[in-house]
Symmetry: C2
Subunit: 390 residues, 2 copies
Amino acid sequence: MYEELKPPSRLLMGPGPSNVHPRVLKAMATPLVGHLDPYFLEVLERTSDLLRMVFDTKNEFTIAISGTGSAGMEACLCSITEPGDEIIVGVKGTFGERMVDIVRRLGGKPIIVEQEPGKIIEPDQIKRALDESNAKAVAIVHAETSTGVLQPLDGIGDMVRKHGALFIVDTVTSLGGAPVNVDERKIDICYSGTQKCLNCPPGLSPLTISERAWTIIEERKTPITSWYLDVTMLKRYWGKERWYHHTAPVSMIYALYEALRIIEEEGLESRFEKHKVTGEAVRESMKALGLDLFAQEGYETPMLTSVKIPDGIDDRTFRKTLLTKHNLEIAGGLDVLKGKIWRIGHMGYGTQPAFVLPTLTAIEKTLRDLGRDIEPGTAASAALQVLEKL
Amino acid sequence: MYEELKPPSRLLMGPGPSNVHPRVLKAMATPLVGHLDPYFLEVLERTSDLLRMVFDTKNEFTIAISGTGSAGMEACLCSITEPGDEIIVGVKGTFGERMVDIVRRLGGKPIIVEQEPGKIIEPDQIKRALDESNAKAVAIVHAETSTGVLQPLDGIGDMVRKHGALFIVDTVTSLGGAPVNVDERKIDICYSGTQKCLNCPPGLSPLTISERAWTIIEERKTPITSWYLDVTMLKRYWGKERWYHHTAPVSMIYALYEALRIIEEEGLESRFEKHKVTGEAVRESMKALGLDLFAQEGYETPMLTSVKIPDGIDDRTFRKTLLTKHNLEIAGGLDVLKGKIWRIGHMGYGTQPAFVLPTLTAIEKTLRDLGRDIEPGTAASAALQVLEKL
């Protein structure tokens, strides 16, 4: 009745989890040591170092929250938000909306700066919100996973700082796939996830907090509502004191360490270039198939391509065929975009042609099987034209 | 600079993480599928079934929270506690104190029922607290990991129910090692951890909620403060709807599934017996070495033995010797018990003589090296006398 695990071998080309690198899978099987073992504390320290590299920051407090990206989102917002605090939130998709929900639960007042899904938030919108409020922080999603839009961040940090507010950025989907530049962009709090461009299983949320943000956190008048996500206590475990807070998820940290080692060996710049070119290749390929792209032109996420579902194609049938006939996972839309778009991920390890070409080919074949008149090889050819650049 | 993972091979005989079963390590390396993949949803369903078996409950909502045991504790308390709510908390060690901290952060009023560390809470104390308050819930720790005391639970559920309150029990350390009997004991909310008697890496918190508790949760006037730990939303993912909340930690679920499969194959009763006899063996062994036990007699946890550190022995030096010379981890005391007790775990897979005997022998040898006059073989002999029963 309880059979051994025998999962089908899937190409995970949705918004995550992405395919985990074989070296990371191997790391997951590494025998454990205790969470206060000198060996493990050394691994934690190296993991922090490597996270500083991908975040591009000097922040001492650079850790991984023991939960998925949403736990990281909540950890950031709950460390800053006190009842009555105004928090400006950029909403251009599901994950911005999630931030609003969290701020409300904390008793904060979200000031929503909105754009229709598929578009970026204009810096001017944030400027106006800052001028018209007494906001404690501005929170925005870098790569909005629900729409495939990459939010430009340059210049916002300065604006936010001029108003004495904190700059919080969600890089769940972008970290390791596009430049995040925490320090240069004056981001005060930045969190991410492991199951996207880091090619690590879901379960941890990398997080970095600037000294500037710590000053604000330490001046809180009310306790942080969450014990589990209380960064002031996590600081005592990840810092020199090594104080026991909760038992760290040892195996997940092993996996993250190995995933970051792979990125360090490859080099961030090379990795960014692969995502950029692959993103372009996938877009060209979709256009060659006659599909329309969804994200605002020029602001497409390099690790996730959103396309409009063509008329006459049933979303569920199409994706079910991909899954069962081609062992390929891509995702549909979330919330208002359900049934309207597909989301095709090409993240980290998943940018290699061995993952991308069969994905594009399976999409093409399935469209053809549903009666579309497409010459075999169209999708791959269009992509290969672009992939030549690499 | 960033070396491959090469952890020392430790015997993990502290309060957890315990040694992970090799089959579970192998499960961790299983390639991932998506968190909404039909295959994964099937694994989730089977995992819920198996969790019902170890919790001994028919509760439909029986899941794993995507965080460690403390996340489970917070998920329970934050789903019940609204501002101003009185929650009776049994405090007889660190984990009871943690509950109090969480209730306070949520704006609840903890009513503390206290005992000195090492003792059990008497049912009469709870009865009095119920009579004198308008408590919404009674929360208590079954196996208090900080002291090695097993709290009797029989009869409390009836008392709590008579007062219209909910019964919340922490079984982080006991689940899979001692009978938990959720339904029989009328426990309404019960959570646990994976890194103790389940021999799975830390990172998940099994949780079960009764229909009775759901009625109370659904009558809340204020939103649950935590988005990540909001059980009403988790119910929609783990239930038939399979609604996307957060990305489930796929690999950790694989590991938990395999760990539970091992328990199912072995049988719960056989497992409980192994813990019971091993606990007795370890206690006899400690006494034979001339050490005093810490937990109230007759209420020792069968999976964790607490002993007083003998006069003249330095805690840190002793444990460092065990770790570096014998690759053996046992734990010291927490908070007020720091430097006063040791905690020796014998959990699940770790109850086998191949783990227990070298542990006892290393403790004996280290005491001898520090000048104690002990005949070689004393610790193992005393244990083996008891282990004959198995």
